[in-house]
């Protein structure tokens, strides 16, 4: 195993979140002012604008934070292989030249696939330092028996996945059964071994922002390295208000436990402007370290196409058709 692959297997370079014992006092008394959250989310993006070369740089940064994802019933090893090729070299040579990045071409943050697609992805990414992330635990519903879900994690890790995206049992949150939720996530963390654990909360299903905060906190106490908004399969996926609440939970956890947790919005980020909005959120709420791929990821597939188109517009003054930017 060469060094780059070794690094990819480690996932991001941060030490793992050791977790803390379940402590409901960290979240039970926390209220969320919905109107204030909405207002903050709305003004974050209207007060700031990123233009010209700054916009181009921000879009490149967003690109490096993408978990390039394919999670369809018709995924094939061939499609995964093509997606991985795209992940290794998302921007064309001309574009890299125009952006002045030809000597250090950016890559995406990770490639995210179903467990059975991990082996082709690992093969296709060999030699790059791009980790393979695998969804697991009965994605997207997460309602298969726990031992089956844990086996799924062990399978994906065994096949070489460096990061595991798990889904929580939403019923535990809706029923305020924090102990079950904590035990479940902690068991999954255990099953991950050296792979990093990203916890999908399924915020579209959680109904209230208070639930979102509590679920975020329990997941982090149980040892999640990333908290992630959604599977991309709910009716409502990542929104700025929900992201703001999760990011605040992450800040609170950092203050109490002293561990940096990553954040991953997924689903609903389709155009370059969305990526800028989330980067602004990260910069304003957490600062520069959370604008890097080891603490910030965007779960998306179509987003990359629009980022490429916007970068082409920056470089040439003209928009190219989406079909010129084949994905997989």
């Amino acid at each position: 195993m060469d060094q780059a692959t070794e690094k990819a297997l480690e996932g991001h370079n941060r030490p793992r979140n050791p977790g803390v014992p379940l402590d409901p006092a960290w979240f039970e008394s926390i209220g969320v002012n919905t109107s204030a959250v909405d207002r903050r989310a709305a003004t974050l993006t209207s007060r700031r604008s990123v233009k010209k070369e700054y916009q181009a740089a921000w879009l490149v940064k967003a690109l490096t934070c993408i978990d390039l994802t394919t999670l369809s019933g018709d995924d094939t090893p061939e499609r995964v292989r093509r997606l991985c090729a795209k992940a290794r070299r998302p921007l064309s040579g001309e574009l890299l030249e125009a952006l002045g990045l030809a000597d250090a071409p950016p890559t995406v943050g990770a490639v995210c696939v179903y467990p059975t697609m991990v082996p082709p992805a690992v093969r296709a990414l060999e030699g790059s330092d791009i980790p393979v992330a695998s969804v697991a635990t009965g994605f997207p519903a997460g309602l298969t028996p726990l031992n089956v879900r844990l086996d799924e994690i062990r399978y994906a890790v065994g096949e070489g996945a460096g990061e595991i995206d798990i889904v929580i049992t939403r019923a535990h949150v809706l029923g305020r059964d924090w102990t079950s939720l904590y035990d479940e996530v902690a068991a999954m963390r255990e099953a991950c071994g050296r792979a990093h654990l990203k916890t999908i909360l399924g915020t579209g299903d959680l109904k209230t922002l208070r639930n979102v905060y509590a679920a975020s906190m329990v997941a982090m106490q149980a040892g999640a390295d990333f908290i992630k908004t959604s599977t991309g399969k709910e009716d409502v996926n990542a929104t700025l208000p929900v992201s703001l609440v999760m990011v605040r939970a992450l800040r609170d956890y950092r203050e109490r436990a002293g561990v940096d947790i990553g954040f991953k919005p997924a689903g609903g980020l389709r155009v370059a402007k969305d990526a800028l909005a989330w980067l602004i959120l990260m910069k304003e709420e957490l600062g520069l370290p959370w604008m890097q791929s080891d603490l910030f990821r965007i779960g998306a597939s179509g987003l990359l196409t629009d980022i490429e188109r916007q970068l082409e517009h920056y470089a040439t003054g003209r928009y190219s058709a989406a079909h010129r930017h084949a994905m997989a």
Binding site: S49, V50, E53, Y54, A57, G100, A104, L288
Partner: protein, 146 residues
């Protein structure tokens, strides 16, 4: 121009300047200075003082220093105009006020930039200069709902 590889390290917002070209051109055409607006027209510019942009210290225009007699003239003109204005029915007065507010609204962009050059404050939120939207509102308010 900043290099993309450098911005990738700092992730600064960068400058996002509002173009002030049209406002500066407008000010240049009035290089001779601004008179006082009395009785529906500008007086010839006289006794001028310099107006600076406090943010940059640059002189942006010259304006007339009003004198006692200017004030008297303005008050006299207003007294003369008042009876006719007061005799108008509310709806009619509202129509004038609305027209005035619309003019402010239509030129909001221009006036925001001009205001920002004049008082040196940044334009914080495009299109919603507090001073201007509130002045448009305060003109329309007495005009009543229509």
């Amino acid at each position: 121009m900043a290099l993309i590889r450098d911005i990738l390290r700092t992730m600064d917002y960068g400058l996002s300047p509002e173009s002030s070209d049209h406002v500066r051109a407008w000010l240049e055409r009035r290089e001779g200075g601004f008179g006082l607006f009395i009785n529906g027209r500008f007086t010839p510019p006289a006794d001028l003082f310099d107006v600076f942009n406090p943010a940059t210290g640059e002189r942006i225009a010259r304006a007339a220093q009003g004198s006692l007699s200017d004030v008297d003239a303005a008050v006299a003109a207003a007294r003369k105009a008042l009876p006719k204005w007061a005799a108008l029915p509310g709806v009619e007065r509202g129509r004038f006020l609305y027209a005035l507010a619309r003019h402010v609204q239509k030129r909001e962009r221009f006036l925001s930039v001009l205001e920002s050059i004049d008082n040196g404050k940044p334009i914080r939120n495009p299109g919603t200069s507090t001073f201007l939207s509130s002045s448009a509102t305060s003109i329309t308010m007495p005009a009543g709902p229509r």
